[in-house]
C-alpha cells in the first residue's frame, strides 16, 4: 500500500461549494423561493438545487476524493477526472437554474435548458461515479464505511436518473404517460434519493470513521453498524425502487416512502446508538470543535426526524415539510459539512505545507493553523440561526426567516474566513510559519508530488 496522497482538486470543490452556499443564503435573505413562494414553485426549486447540488454535492464529492482512499487504504483511480467533472456539474447546475427560470417565465420557453442540464449533470456525476466506483472496485472486500459510500453512490445514480427523466418531460422531449406521472408524483422520491440516500447515507458512513479517528474511539464494525448499513440500504431500496414504479403507474409513492421511512428509523436508531457509543468510549476527553459541532449536527438530524414524525401524526406534512427539509439540509447536512470542513481544511493544508519538514525541526501542529475559541462562536451563531429559521418557518413568519437568514449569512462568511485563514497559515505564529523544507499551499488545489 503506497498510502494516500493529497487529492489534487478537493480544495477547488470546497471553494465552489462554499460559493454556492453563499448564493443559497443570499437567495433566502432576498426572500427568493420558499417561504415567500410555494414549495413547488420554480424559485424554490432553484434554491433547493443550488443547495443540494452546488453546495452539498460538490462538498461531498470533494471530500470523497480525499477520504474514499483513506476508508479503503487504496489510492484514487484518477487525480485528473475530478476537474472536468466539476466543470460539467457547475455547467449543468447553471443550465438547470436556467430551466427553472424558464418555468418561472424569466427566459423564453423555446430554449432546451432542461435537457441540456440533464445531459451535463449526468456526465458530471457519471465521471464522479466512474472515478470513485473504480477506486472502490479495486479494493474489495470493502470495509463497512466504504459500503455506506457505495450505497450512497447508487443513490445519486438513481437521483440523477429520475432527474434526467424530469428534464426530458419539462423540456418537452417526451410525452410518455409514465414519465409524466413520475414528474407529477415522484418528486419526493427524487428528493429522498438525493438528500437521504446520497448525502445522508454517505455522511453517516464517513462519520463512523472520522469520529473514531479524531476522538481516538474504537473502529466499529459490529452487528449494530451492520444493522444500520443493511436496514438503511433496505429502506432506500424500498423507497426508491418501490417509489419510482408506483409513481410511474400513477398510484403515487406514499406507501413505499412510508415503508422506507419506517425501516429507515430502525437504521437511524442503530446509527444513533453507535455514535453515542463512539462519543462515550473516546479516549480523547477534550474533543475539538469539529467533533463537538458534529454532535450538534447529529442532534439536528434527530430533531428533524422527530418533527417529521409529529407532522405525520398530526397530518400536517404538506404544510410544514419545508421546515423539516430546511432543518435537515442546514442543521444536519450543512452543519456537519461546515464542522468537518473546518478540520479537513486545516489538516490537508498542514500536510501539504509541513509534510516535507516534519521531524527535521520544530513545525506547527495542525491545531496551530486554527483558532477554535474564535471560530466556535460563529458555529454557535450559525446553528442558532438554523433553529430560529426553523421556528419562523413553522410559525409562518417569512420576514423573521429572512432576518435569521441574514444572520446565518454573516456567520457563514465568518466561518469561511476562518477556513481561508487556515489555508493561508495566517493563524500560525510568524516565527514557526515557514520552517526549512515547508512550503505554502495554493488556495484552490494541492500540489501532488510524486514520491
Amino acid at each position: 500500500m503506497p498510502g494516500v496522497t493529497l487529492s489534487r482538486w478537493t480544495m477547488s470543490y470546497f471553494a465552489a461549494a462554499l460559493i454556492f452556499l453563499l448564493i443559497a443564503e443570499l437567495l433566502m435573505v432576498a426572500g427568493y423561493g420558499y417561504p415567500a413562494t410555494a414549495i413547488a414553485a420554480p424559485e424554490t426549486l432553484i434554491l433547493v438545487h443550488v443547495t443540494a447540488i452546488g453546495w452539498l454535492s460538490l462538498l461531498l464529492c470533494g471530500a470523497l476524493y480525499q477520504f474514499v482512499p483513506v476508508l479503503i487504504a487504496h489510492p484514487i483511480h484518477s487525480q485528473t477526472l475530478p476537474l472536468p467533472a466539476l466543470a460539467f456539474l457547475i455547467a449543468g447546475l447553471g443550465a438547470l437554474i436556467a430551466g427553472f427560470l424558464q418555468l418561472a417565465g424569466f427566459i423564453a420557453p423555446h430554449a432546451l435548458c432542461f435537457p441540456v442540464a440533464g445531459f451535463l449533470l449526468s456526465i458530471g456525476f457519471a465521471l464522479v461515479l466512474w472515478n470513485l466506483g473504480k477506486t472502490l472496485w479495486a479494493a474489495r472486500p470493502l470495509t463497512l464505511p466504504a459500503r455506506f459510500v457505495t450505497v450512497g453512490l447508487l443513490s445519486i445514480a438513481a437521483t440523477v436518473l429520475i432527474g434526467v427523466i424530469f428534464t426530458l418531460v419539462l423540456g418537452g422531449l417526451t410525452e410518455h404517460g409514465h414519465f409524466i406521472n413520475l414528474l407529477q408524483s415522484g418528486v419526493p422520491v427524487h428528493a429522498v434519493a438525493g438528500l437521504v440516500g446520497w448525502l445522508t447515507f454517505i455522511a453517516m458512513g464517513v462519520s463512523y470513521r472520522l469520529l473514531a479517528m479524531f476522538m481516538l474511539a474504537p473502529e466499529l464494525d459490529g452487528p449494530t453498524t451492520r444493522s444500520a448499513l443493511y436496514l438503511g440500504a433496505a429502506a432506500l431500496g424500498v423507497a426508491i425502487l418501490g417509489g419510482v414504479p408506483a409513481s410511474m403507474a400513477g398510484i403515487g409513492p406514499t406507501i413505499p416512502l412510508l415503508m422506507g421511512f419506517a425501516i429507515g428509523l430502525l437504521a437511524l436508531g442503530f446509527y444513533a446508538r453507535d455514535i453515542l457509543y463512539l462519543y462515550r468510549t473516546r479516549r480523547r476527553r477534550k474533543i475539538e470543535l469539529n467533533s463537538r459541532m458534529a454532535a450538534i449536527a447529529v442532534g439536528n438530524l434527530a430533531a428533524a426526524i422527530v418533527l417529521l414524525i409529529a407532522l405525520l401524526i398530526s397530518d400536517n406534512v404538506d404544510r410544514y415539510i419545508g421546515a423539516v427539509v430546511f432543518l435537515f439540509a442546514f442543521g444536519w447536512l450543512s452543519g456537519l459539512g461546515l464542522a468537518k470542513l473546518y478540520k479537513i481544511t486545516a489538516f490537508l493544508t498542514w500536510l501539504e505545507c509541513y509534510g516535507p519538514a516534519l521531524g527535521k525541526g520544530p513545525t506547527p501542529r495542525v491545531q496551530d493553523l486554527v483558532t477554535e475559541p474564535r471560530a466556535i462562536k460563529w458555529f454557535w451563531l450559525y446553528f442558532a440561526t438554523v433553529w430560529c429559521g426553523t421556528i419562523f418557518l413553522i410559525a409562518e413568519i417569512p420576514l423573521g426567516f429572512r432576518i435569521t437568514s441574514a444572520i446565518m449569512l454573516i456567520a457563514t462568511i465568518a466561518i469561511i474566513n476562518e477556513l481561508l485563514r487556515a489555508r493561508r497559515l495566517l493563524d500560525v505564529k510568524a516565527e514557526i510559519r515557514m520552517p526549512k523544507g515547508a512550503s505554502s499551499a495554493h488556495l484552490l488545489y494541492a500540489q501532488v508530488k510524486k514520491a
Binding site: 500500500m1 503506497p2 498510502g3 494516500v4 496522497t5 483513506v70 481516538l216 479516549r283 516534519l358 521531524g359
Partner: protein, 178 residues
C-alpha cells in the same frame, strides 16, 4: 492443477511472534502457478489486501477453535504496483531486516502526532536502522512521506485486529526529500 505450498504460522503466532516476514518469504519462493495454503490462528484480513495487490485471490475457511485456513491462488492478473511491503518492493528488500533499534507506542496520541513522532525519530537514525511503532490505524498519510525520504516500511495489523505495527527501515539520504 496448481499445487499449494503449505505454511502453518500458528506456532509463530502462539509464541507471540510476527509471521509476516515468513509469509512474504514463502510467497517469493512460489512458482507462477503455485498457491499458498496458510494456516493461522485468526482470519488474516490485512494479508488479503497485501497478497491481492500481488495478484493472489483468496478463499478462507474457518477450521474451528479460532483457526483459519486460507488458500491464496495466483489469479493470473499482473500484480499491481500497490504492494504493501516496502517503498521499493524489490527482491533485495525481502531479505531479513535487522532488529529495531527504536520502539514507539503511538496508540494514545492524537492524529497526526503518531506520524510526526515517527518522522522525527527516523531523522535521528542511521541508514539501515529499523524503527518499530504501534499505532491504532494504518498510517496512510505517513507512507508517501516515508517514500519521499527514501525509507522502506512493512506493516500490518496484529492478531487483535486493532493494533497496527509498522516497521520502518531508514534509507540512505537521497537529497530529494524536500
Amino acid at each position: 492443477m496448481p499445487g499449494f505450498v503449505e505454511l502453518d504460522v500458528r506456532p509463530i503466532l502462539r509464541a507471540g511472534g510476527e509471521p509476516f516476514e515468513k509469509i512474504m518469504q514463502t510467497i517469493n519462493t512460489l512458482k507462477p502457478d503455485q498457491g499458498l495454503r496458510l494456516l493461522a490462528t485468526f482470519k488474516p484480513v490485512p494479508l488479503f489486501h497485501v497478497l491481492g495487490s500481488k495478484g493472489y485471490t483468496h478463499q478462507e475457511k474457518e477450521l474451528g477453535g479460532g483457526d483459519w485456513e486460507v488458500l491464496f491462488t495466483p489469479s493470473g492478473a499482473p500484480a499491481s504496483n500497490a504492494a504493501t511491503v516496502g517503498a521499493d518492493a524489490n527482491a533485495k528488500d525481502n531479505a531479513a531486516w535487522p532488529e529495531p533499534v527504536q520502539h514507539l507506542d503511538n496508540r494514545d496520541l492524537d492524529p497526526p502526532e503518531p506520524m510526526v513522532k515517527i518522522l522525527a525519530t527516523t531523522e535521528a537514525m542511521a541508514p539501515g536502522e529499523v524503527l518499530s511503532a504501534y499505532l491504532c490505524r494504518e498510517p496512510l498519510f505517513l507512507f508517501p512521506e516515508l517514500a519521499k525520504r527514501g525509507h522502506s516500511w512493512r506493516g500490518g495489523f496484529e492478531a487483535d485486529g486493532k493494533t497496527y505495527k509498522v516497521l520502518v527501515r531508514v534509507g540512505k539520504p537521497t537529497g530529494a526529500a524536500a
